[in-house]
Amino acid sequence: MNPKEIIAKRVAKEFENNQLVNLGIGLPTLTANYIDKDIKVTFQSENGMVGMGKLAVDDEIKTDITNAGGQFVTIGDEGAFFDTSMSFGLIRGGHVDVTVLGALEVDQHGNLANWIVPGKMVPGMGGAMDLVVGAKKVIVAMLHTVKGKSKILKDCVLPLTAKGVVDMIITELAVMEVTKEGLLVKEISESISVKELQDMTDAKLIIPENLVYMKV
């Protein structure tokens, strides 16, 4: 299993029945493929629908039904369309149970940086700032390191997307919860030791006695 698959599979276990879920583009979107059959969640697309289904193919395509990436998608029986004002009412108003996003950096205070890449073009925050402020649970799903450097910091260096909003970080190596005391490791990959995990992480990790292995 490649690292992204591990992350997507583990994130998928976080979803509970009847939740409204918003997935960021890229890796977060992959998590939809691994949700247990018994768990029924509804997906929101912030451009204006709930009940979003898979990408539309062939005669499923309706040019008036797109996702937030501009791709043609389907909509399920439980779905509804609405305008941007309502869509962000759902988001900022706390009606979205879980949002899953990638990050450039996240820190032990739950701060998140994922919208400005230094020296690169600034694409704009789109709906990300509202999503992480509004959703009841914010899960950052990302590789633990980039080019050998930890993406989990004591304090974010890049411009923030939001302050203190991240609830959980899921990487290919660990599942961590943001607590008032700092980053609490809930699960660790069987492939590494606690010391190795800490060595690969800039932020100080809290290791509980009941630490378990990460199952995917």
Binding site: T42, V50, E78, A80, F81, F82, I91
Partner: protein, 217 residues
Amino acid sequence: MSKVVSLNKVKGLFKDDMTIMIGGFLGCGTGEALIDTLIESGAKNLTIIGNDTSFVDKGIGRLIVNNQVKKVIASHIGTNAETGRLMNEGKLEVELSPQGTLIERVRAGGFGLGGILTPTGVGTLVEENKEKITVEGVEYLLELPLRANIALIKGSVVDDFGNTIYKGTTKNFNPMIAMASDIVIVGSQTLVEAGTLNKDMIMTPGVVVDYIVREGK
């Protein structure tokens, strides 16, 4: 688990001292079966948020007459003499909010806004105890969000996932109230299967609805 339940089931949700938002404009768009159920529950000391207190024999008006209400937040109470009488006797607290302000406060509560600035009420009694904020030389009142424990919604056509269509002028406060309450109960005039509604007509998506009961016609 289906969201469609009996009126008896939702009766158990009503408790003393709760804040309840109720849709309707002079009773048009109010679920009377839900009002019956709230009366049967006997819940007391309620704070009711709605456009008006309707008439003595209709909608919110019946809760007033039945002495279940401690406080009302509304834009108009003139069609229900009991509201005024209880208020004058000190038995009912009434907070009046301009209609456009009231709906924005409910919307702010449901849409995660900290408040809105409105020109309505500046220079009147409405501005008492409120912060005034000047933007580009114009004075506005800062009006704060409202939320409730339970919302009672009336839907004209509702599917069993809770997606709701409101016909004619029954919309009024219903769609916003459904966004601003912890528990949302929809009284369905007509109940259909999920997937059969026109998805461009749904004003309240089922994802915010907790319970669906059957309203009469």
